[in-house]
Each structure stands twice: as structure tokens, then as C-alpha cells.
Amino acid sequence: MLVMSAYKGVAQNAAKASVAIAINYFEANNSIPHLLVTAKSRVNGRFQPVGGIRLRLCLDKDSAGTAIATVVTSKKGEATAYIPPSVKNEWERSKTHTFLAIFDGDKKYEPANADLTVARAKMLISTSGKSITATVLQLKDTSWIPVKGVDVKIGVRRLGGDLPVNETPTFTTDSTGQASADFKRDNIPGDSKGNIVLVARVDDNDQFGNLSIETTVPWGAKTRFISDFDKRALFATRAKAPVWLIFMSGGIIVAVWATLILLVRNIFRIKKIGREAEPAVVQSNHRI
């Protein structure tokens, strides 16, 4: 029995899988930052998302006063949390922060944790003529210092992602913390006033995480939205059927049914002839 219970304990431990947790930091338009946490586990040699596990997120240390949120991962193994006002004091206290993600373990997975350290930074974007300048600044002591050597992508926001403003995919900041790009996407469709959204972003930077900034400029082509909704079409509503279809189908229906009505009328004509011919036919019934 002792052996059995020992085996059971080993078997249970052996059945538990380990979880790999990763933290990503995002700050858009110098607004409230948020964290994206992902959880994965290796199944048959491949990493698969782990959904439904509860993670505690903390700022700098695991304590009640520094708790950011408790999140549950989605089916994709992801969870998001914004930095709440409750940690404002802790946030202001330091220029560099470490985020902690703690998983206490459950029936299926072993406990796990992860951390990410980022330095507080911000981005600026400005335009001059058809030139765009993005600036990356880092908070040191009480002032914002330009950062050199950061890769910045500058693009135009489109439906499926950001389209680079010219052939160069990435620009690097100089000693003034600036990266400039010439806009070469003339006639790109904008809104009705020609407005397009320019975006400068820093992706997965080891020091600053993910930063982005955007601005709207009237550099695009003006587009006029033409609605097909109220026009006659095969896919339109009953009242908006194409005229040619109404006439064609109506013509066929009228022609066929007029013929059928005539043929029904024909029966009454035959009936009338039968009534009129009755006496004569009775006398000369040569046809059976």
C-alpha cells in the first residue's frame, strides 16, 4: 500500500507539465502602459498556448501594494493588464521597473514565474514638409534624455498593419534621439479630407519594450465613399431588383401563364362546343 501511494505521488508529479511565461511591455502615444503576458507549454516537442491559468502580475516586488492585476490566460495563452492607478506611487518612485508574472501552479502545471525590466521612455513624432521625425527619449533623474541607436519603424496605418513610408524598413536614432524618414507614399488613399495616420514604433526593444506614437497628417488622397447599398443589384433588397431582371422574369412569367390561362379557357370552349353539339353527336356517335 505504501508502495502504491508512493507510486501515485510520483505519477501525479510526473504528469504535471512546466509552463513558460513571457511578459511584453507596451506604451502607445505616451499613454498608460499595458502588459501582455503569454503562457506556453511544450507538448510533443512543440510549444502550445496554455489557456485558463491564473497569473498574478506585480510591479517590482510581489506584495499586496504592488499588485497590478490577477489575470486568466485566454485560449491563445494570452492575458492583458493595464498599469492601474493603485501603483502610481511605486511607478513614480523609479526610472526603471521590473514586472513580475507569478503562476502558483495547478493540477496540470508546475508553478512558474517570469520578469521583465524596462526603463521608462517616451516617443515624439513631428513632421516638416513631407519629412517625418521620430524621437526616442529616456527618463533619467528628472529629465528626458535622447537615446541613440534605437531601431524605429515609421509607417502609415492601414487596415492590415503599418505600411513603411518609403523603401527603408527601419531607421536608427542619432545622438539627438531622432530618426527621420521622407514620405514617399503619395496618393495613398486617406479619408474624405485626405488624412492619414503616421506611426513611429519601437518593437521589442531590450531596454524599453514596445513604444509607439502616431499623428494625423493630410498627405493622403481624398477618397469619396460611394455606397452601393441603395442601388439596384442582384444582391440588393426586393425593391431594388435590377430593372432588366424584373422585365425579363416578368415577361417570361406573363407569357407562360397567359398561355396556360388560354389553355384553361380552351377547356371551357370545348365544354361549350360539347353542350351545343350534344343532340347531333348523340345521333351520329361514330367516334367512341
Binding site: R238, L260, G274, I288
Partner: protein
């Protein structure tokens, strides 16, 4: 004198007869099927379409398969009656009434089964109030109504001379039936003017029914072909459906021919020659349908597009493969092989082949509807596993079987009331031969 006696014999042979014990049992069995179907339909009305196994994936199940099958069978009315008449094919004359009876019965149940599939029949009128002329469903409603009306007229007009003959035998029928005959045809006196009007009307109907018949099945095929799905996205569908419809309709006529010949002892009127000629016609129609099947499946199989691969594999080698190959071999290939031999075109083998064609055709319609619905371009997320398979519930089976039984019941009752073989036409033909 001898000619007149022979004429009387023909009339006696072809008059509708009362059911004997076998006939009554047959009607009883069909009625029992219908009653079970009515009960199943009551359950469907009471509890909703949830009593069926149609779900998010397969929303058109066995009902729509049956609908396509009925529409296909009904096409035989135009083939045997109209095409044969217009082409002057004399040997087909005894088969015209059988074909028209099958057409009328099938189109009635095609309409009924569509209403059954709707789930809420009390909302049927919305189709007319809010239906869009751009929708193939509305085209189908219009063309089915038109086809039914033409088929009814095409059944009625050639009946007029026969009704006059039936009215001579008052003692043979019960008063209600005699009254019914009087209502339908007491005004027919055989007058030359009447004859000319009737002849013109039949000719006009024969001309009208062919395009309407082609339309009814083309539009039915467009219900599928205008929907962007693997297996339905085909320009071949109209012709493919019409070829299949002619084949199954001809198969159904062969089955009916054998039953009437045997049951009513009509060997003199439905002869081995009729079977031989229908056999040759079946070979032609089978080969035509085979050609369209090759067109329908070979080119997608050759390309094997990723979006259609799972549908095609399921059909050729997967879970639907036994049914698919059964339908192809039993419904098309084996009939061709059997009927190529003269021995195969004798009545009994023809009867068996007719059944094979009809059964194969029913499964073929099932295969047109269901496998496609189980393989959409975009799989649905978060649906229960049961939704990914389809097997009709007992209610669906009961209603489908009841519709088939109901079709046969209508044909049986029409045969009880009206002559299966046109009497006047047979007399005229006999008169011409004697002359």
C-alpha cells in the same frame, strides 16, 4: 365487326379496375408509412426542427435531397410525353399517362417536402410577401408552380376522350366516382371541333413544358451552384442535374411499366418491344449522365485545390466513398453494362435495372447535398463535435419515407381512377393498323 369487337376488348382491358387484396394491402402499407410521417411531422411542428439532426453544418439534410430527387423524377413527364409526342415517337404513346402520373405525384411532394424543410409552415406566405426576384429560391417556387400546372393540364387534356369512354360504364363504378368522371369530362362528345381544340392545346402544352422542365431542374441546380461551396461551385450543374433527372425519370417509368404490365396483365399493350426501346433510351441517358459526372468530378480531382481536397477525399476514399461508388456503379455504370445486352432489356432485368437507377439516383441526391455542407471553406469554431457529422433522425427518416410512400400512393390512386394507358389513343392506333 371484328374491328369493333377488338375495340371493345381493348376498352375492357384498359378500364381502371378495383383493387384486389394485393392492391388494398399495398395502399394500406403506403398509408401506414404516410401516417407515421404525419406523426413525425407533428413532432417537428411541436418541438421544432431540433427533432431533426440538422444543425449549423448540415442545414439542408435528407429533406432537400428528397426535394431534388422528386424534381428530378418529375422531369420524366416532359421527356416521355412532350419530347416523344413532338418527335412523333409512336411507341411511347402507351407510356405517356404513366409518365404524367409520376410527374404530377412527384412535383406535389417536391412542393410539400420544401414546406416541411422550412420548419415553420405558417410563415410560408412570407416567401410571397417578401421574396426577392433575384433569389433562385423564388425562381424555384415560381417554376415548380408552373410546372405542376402544366403537368396537370397535360394529364387532363388527353384524358378527355377516355373519360367519355369511362362514362359508358356507369354500372362498373360507384356513384361518387361516376359523378367525378361526369364532372371532369361529360362535355366531351368527340366532336371534330373539340378534337382540334384539344389537339392544339396538347401541342401547345408539349411545347411549353420542355423549357419549363429544363428551367425547373436548372433552377434547382442553381440553388446549389449559386452558393460558393466546395462541390457546388460548378458551371456544369444545370446540365448535370438535367441529365440525371432524365435518367431517374426514365428509370421510374420502367419500374412502373413492369408493375402495371404484371399487375394489370397488360402484356398486349406494354410489350417486350417497349422495354427494349426504353432499355436503349436508358443506356443513352446513363452514358450522358456518366459524361456529366466525369466532368463534375474529374477536373476538381485533377486540380485537387486545397479548399476542396477534404471534400473530394471524403467522397472518393473517405466516409462517403461507399455511398458515392455505390451510386455511381449501381445507378449509372452497371445499368449501361446490363442494358447493352439484348437479354438485359427483357422486362424483368429492365425492372431490376430501373430500381437500381432510382435507388442510385436517390443516394446521388443525398451526396450532392450533405458532404458539401460538412466541408465548408471556413470551418466553424466552437461547435459541438456532433455538428460535424450528419445522420438523419428517425423523424427525418419517417417524413422522407412518408413522402416517397405518398408519391407512390398518389400514383396508385390515379391508376385506380384513370386508365393507365390512354384508351382512345390505343383504339386510334389499332384502327390505323387495321386500315
Amino acid at each position: 365487326m371484328e374491328n369493333s369487337l377488338k375495340g371493345e376488348q381493348i376498352i375492357q382491358d384498359l378500364l381502371p379496375r378495383k383493387f384486389k387484396t394485393g392492391g388494398k394491402i399495398w395502399v394500406g402499407i403506403l398509408s401506414a408509412f404516410c401516417l407515421v410521417g404525419v406523426y413525425a411531422y407533428y413532432r417537428q411542428l411541436r418541438y421544432g426542427l431540433v427533432v431533426t439532426n440538422m444543425r449549423d453544418y448540415v442545414s439542408w439534410g435528407i429533406y432537400i435531397s428528397n426535394f431534388v430527387f422528386f424534381v428530378a423524377i418529375s422531369l420524366v413527364g416532359s421527356l416521355i410525353t412532350a419530347v416523344f409526342r413532338l418527335l412523333g415517337v409512336k411507341w411511347g404513346a402507351p407510356l405517356t399517362r404513366i409518365a404524367e402520373m409520376i410527374a404530377v405525384a412527384a412535383i406535389i411532394f417536391a412542393s410539400i417536402i420544401i414546406i416541411v424543410d422550412m420548419g415553420s409552415p405558417e410563415r410560408f406566405y412570407n416567401l410571397f410577401l417578401y421574396g426577392r426576384i433575384q433569389s433562385p429560391i423564388i425562381w424555384d417556387v415560381i417554376v415548380i408552380t408552373t410546372y405542376f400546372f402544366i403537368s396537370l393540364l397535360l394529364l387532363y387534356y388527353p384524358l378527355l376522350p377516355d373519360l367519355k369512354i369511362l362514362l359508358r360504364f356507369k354500372e362498373k363504378y360507384n356513384p361518387a366516382l361516376y359523378k367525378f368522371y361526369s364532372f371532369l369530362g361529360s362535355f366531351w362528345k368527340g366532336d371534330h371541333k373539340q378534337y382540334l381544340l384539344s389537339k392544339k392545346a396538347i401541342h401547345a402544352l408539349c411545347v411549353a413544358i420542355i423549357p419549363v422542365a429544363f428551367t425547373i431542374h436548372t433552377v434547382t441546380s442553381w440553388l446549389f451552384a449559386t452558393t460558393y461551396r466546395p462541390g457546388w461551385d460548378s458551371t456544369n450543374f444545370g446540365a448535370y442535374f438535367i441529365a440525371g433527372a432524365f435518367l431517374v425519370g426514365a428509370g421510374a417509368v420502367v419500374v412502373a411499366m413492369y408493375i402495371f404490365k404484371t399487375w394489370y396483365h397488360m402484356d398486349k399493350y406494354i410489350t417486350a418491344d417497349h422495354f427494349d426501346k426504353m432499355g436503349r433510351l436508358l443506356v443513352l441517358l446513363s452514358l450522358l449522365y456518366l459524361y456529366f459526372n466525369v466532368n463534375e468530378f474529374l477536373t476538381p480531382f485533377f486540380k485537387m485545390k486545397e479548399s476542396e481536397a477534404s471534400y473530394l477525399n471524403d467522397l472518393f476514399t473517405g466516409s462517403f466513398a461507399p455511398m458515392f461508388w455505390f451510386a455511381i456503379f449501381t445507378g449509372i455504370i452497371l445499368p449501361v453494362i446490363i442494358l447493352l445486352f439484348k437479354q438485359g432489356r427483357r422486362p424483368l432485368p429492365m425492372f431490376i435495372v430501373g430500381i437500381m437507377v432510382v435507388v442510385g439516383a436517390w443516394f446521388k441526391r443525398y451526396l450532392i447535398v450533405t458532404p458539401t455542407l460538412l466541408h465548408p471553406f471556413m470551418p466553424m469554431h466552437d461547435v459541438p463535435a456532433a455538428y460535424r457529422h450528419y445522420f438523419p433522425s428517425w423523424e427525418e427518416w419517417a417524413i422522407a419515407m412518408a413522402s416517397l410512400a405518398g408519391t407512390m400512393l398518389i400514383i396508385t390512386l390515379l391508376c385506380r381512377v384513370f386508365p393507365v394507358i390512354p384508351i382512345q389513343e390505343t383504339l386510334d392506333e389499332n384502327h390505323e393498323i387495321v386500315r
